[in-house]
Symmetry: C2
Subunit: 166 residues, 2 copies
Amino acid sequence: MHIEFRPIGIIHSPYPDPAGVPIQGILAKNVRGSVEVFPEFGEALADLDGFSHIILIYFFHRSSGFAQKCRPFLDTRERGVFATRAPRRPNPIGISIVGLLGMHACRMDIDSLDIVDGTPLLDIKPYVPDFDMRDAVRTGWYATAANKGQTVSDSRFVTGESGRGR
Amino acid sequence: MHIEFRPIGIIHSPYPDPAGVPIQGILAKNVRGSVEVFPEFGEALADLDGFSHIILIYFFHRSSGFAQKCRPFLDTRERGVFATRAPRRPNPIGISIVGLLGMHACRMDIDSLDIVDGTPLLDIKPYVPDFDMRDAVRTGWYATAANKGQTVSDSRFVTGESGRGR
């Protein structure tokens, strides 16, 4: 079974390359950029302007291949890729919660961007705390991760230096 | 540009059809099911067992077509589809935060399932409150939605009765 998607737009950010991008949006306060949605999907953006935060779902187009395990930016040990947010995944899908600062027809001003410039956008969903926040959460390796001070990415997932990929 | 994904596994739930599924996982406490990841991706599940909550990314395989606008389950008015979580999207991608109760090789016991049985799984990510929780959030139409008491879906997105689809 193959599932085919197509971009609904493009994400514009200050980061031309995967190295140097904030590791998570929460570490990217005041990193501004924009999302350009193709005009054919313009009507579907109605009512989005009432939401202060949106979820972007996108294609990690600068990641190559896939590794079962990788060393996350925040840790010193290899972890199963599904226990990380790393981009070299079987299906290279990224999700980011970003701030929606304003809308101008099909262009949105965005805050807290942790995404490479030119990334193909697949979907947008509203962020709703009632749906998206969970209490009493255990966070495995992340809870005691050794490199939590690291805030930006490097090129490890571009060159494939980490992990046993195909 | 076309982007091709393939399932990494299958989601098993008590819901054979889209009608009657809890609208969100948060409304599906104690709805148990399982996720079966194909053995070729088994190594990538390492370290996931430390997380109490995971994010499932999946293909809305029972949704047909796409509408620019739709009437969400929780509201009485039509909204732009990107301002909703409805399944009839340009790229029918769903995300759910679920409880991870246990792991048995490539099979995971899951809680809080708001997903139709047999749904193709595309990706798994760990839920990390540091990354995934946002304060001071405005939630647009949802804040005053008229049907917030509704907890389960109906068949509107299967039959296409709502929205101006192509």
